[in-house]
């Protein structure tokens, strides 16, 4: 089907629905003619508009959203920050892993001088890094999840990204990314979407409203110096 056929069909369906509803209403109104006098109709229409006005006033005063749309300057700041994170990561420098972004730490024990690591759902874009830590006693391992800002359409969704499962089993460290997670948002835009979309309002802006790099989250395995990591899948990178 061509775009025009789809457009015609999408117009015809509402037209048919409108005709059906109007037809039913005409039939019903013949029976309720005595009740729906001009006075009652006027009251009904005015009341409906008044309810709409009340809804607008309520939303204006009390309808604050807990989710904030980031401003251009905030987006610019975040993008610079994420670019520097990528740069540090490429240089194997761990200084970007600050406590601000720490989400969760798992502490566990293992036996021997080497730690086998198994990653389930390796295709889920988890960034796994290994770091030697002199402050950790032998036989202990610390796994820390860091979440950096992830922006989609001007909204920071980093809080919505679910944490992976991390556990020890048979002296092996298992890291399991959770199955596909869906997040729904409801956006209020009191304008005409068809005009905004075709005028490409967002795309014309100097700054992108989506900043979501695959390196927005990191899992860092910290072991005592001298402990080897057995990475049979070849997905773990080392940091200094």
């Amino acid at each position: 089907m061509t775009n025009i056929t789809v457009l015609l069909l999408s117009l015809l369906i509402p037209i048919l629905l409108v005709i059906v509803v109007l037809f039913v209403l005409r039939k019903v109104s013949n029976k309720t003619k005595n009740f729906w006098t001009l006075k009652h109709l006027s009251i009904g229409i005015t009341a409906y508009i008044a309810v709409g006005l009340f809804a607008l006033l309520y939303l204006s005063f009390f309808g604050d959203s807990s989710i904030q749309v980031l401003s251009k300057s905030e987006l610019k700041k975040i993008e610079k920050n994420i670019e520097s994170i990528q740069k540090y990561d490429q240089e194997y420098n761990s200084s970007f892993l600050t406590d601000n972004y720490k989400k969760k730490t798992w502490e566990t024990d293992f036996l021997g001088g080497a730690l086998p690591v198994i990653i389930n759902n390796a295709d889920s874009n988890l960034n796994i890094r290994h770091l030697n830590n002199d402050n950790i006693p032998a036989g202990k391992v610390l796994v820390t999840y860091y979440q950096f800002p992830a922006i989609i359409d001007g909204i920071d969704i980093s809080d919505k990204i679910s944490l992976p499962n991390v556990y020890m089993s048979q002296n092996q460290l298992w890291i399991e990314a959770l199955s596909r997670n869906e997040v729904n948002f409801h956006r209020i835009k009191a304008s005409l979407g068809i005009l905004d979309f075709n005028r490409k309002v967002d795309l014309d802006d100097d700054y992108p409203s989506t900043i979501f790099y695959l390196s927005s989250n990191f899992i860092v395995i910290e072991t005592p110096r001298g402990t080897d990591i057995e990475d049979s899948q070849g997905v773990i990178q080392y940091l200094r």
């Binding site: 061509t2 025009i4 056929t5 457009l7 015609l8 509402p14 037209i15 409108v18 509803v21 109007l22 209403l25 729906w36 001009l38 109709l41 006027s42 009904g44 229409i45 508009i49 309810v51 709409g52 809804a55 607008l56 939303l59 204006s60 309808g63 604050d64 959203s65 807990s66 989710i67 749309v69 889920s124 874009n125 989609i152 359409d153 969704i157 919505k160 990314a177 199955s179 596909r180 997670n181 869906e182 997040v183 729904n184 948002f185 409801h186 956006r187 209020i188 835009k189 009191a190 304008s191 005409l192 979407g193 068809i194 005009l195 979309f197 075709n198 005028r199 989506t210 979501f212 695959l214």
Partner: protein, 242 residues
């Protein structure tokens, strides 16, 4: 004229507008019912949606804009305007002093008045829907823009008015002389068939990209053209009960 009383044309039209605005007010209640039905149907999905999939995360945005309410209002105006020209409505004209021309002018003025009220109803429906949404989906609600801009308000009125004007012209075409009826059918067939045969022929992009006020101005000019044609056809038509 049905009366020998000496009344100016302006007074006759004024009386007819008052009479018709009251008589056809049930049309506005049908718009409310239509808006409530479509508002309820689109309560969870909104007018549009967009999705982003990254890693194991899928983000869905349901966008609540005025589009669907405007489309419903415009279609309503189109159908109501056609109904204004049907036999049952024309018979009502016989209750008051009228000519075909004064009746056409009165219909046009009522349509313009109803377009304005339709926008108020449309906005009321939109804000009632958003109010319901704010109570049910508070945690996932993002308010980008709550108040409609005056330019969008004008675009909405002119769009509804334009569809009403096309509907009225469409209705009058089938009452006029045979030559107008035949040419209307041919024109209608061309309008429906040409986009299917020549999809590239129809390109609305340049119109949509016009600024809001310019777009409204374009709609108003087309509406005036349709209204003028309506008056001309009405003037040429014979007064009959058919």
């Amino acid at each position: 004229m049905q009366s020998l009383t000496n009344m100016s044309f302006k007074t006759i039209v004024k009386k007819q507008v008052k009479w018709k605005a009251k008589l056809y007010s049930s049309a506005l209640s049908s718009l409310i019912i239509l808006q409530v039905i479509f508002g309820a149907l689109l309560f969870s999905s909104g007018s549009a949606s967009s999705g982003h999939g990254r890693g194991n995360l899928n983000v869905q945005f349901s966008i609540y804009s005025l589009d669907m309410f405007l489309i419903i209002s415009a279609l309503w105006a189109f159908i109501i305007a056609i109904l204004f020209t049907t036999k049952s409505y024309r018979i009502d004209d016989l209750s008051i002093i009228s000519s075909r021309t004064s009746s056409a002018i009165a219909n046009i003025l009522v349509l313009i008045l109803y377009s304005f009220i339709a926008v108020l109803i449309m906005l009321a429906s939109y804000y009632i829907q958003i109010f319901g949404l704010s109570l049910m989906e508070k945690d996932s609600l993002i308010i980008d823009k709550l108040i409609i801009t005056p330019s969008i308000f004008i675009v909405c009125i002119s769009s509804i008015c334009l569809f009403g004007a096309i509907g009225l012209l469409f209705g009058y075409c089938f009452q006029g002389p045979s030559i107008i009826k035949i040419s209307s059918i041919v024109l209608l067939a061309i309008v429906i068939i040409s986009p299917i045969i020549f999809p590239d022929f129809v390109n609305l992009q340049p119109f949509i990209q016009l600024p809001d006020l310019l777009l409204s101005g374009f709609y108003v000019i087309v509406s005036i053209l349709c209204f003028t044609l309506c008056i001309w056809i009405a003037d040429k038509s014979e007064v009959s009960r058919k």
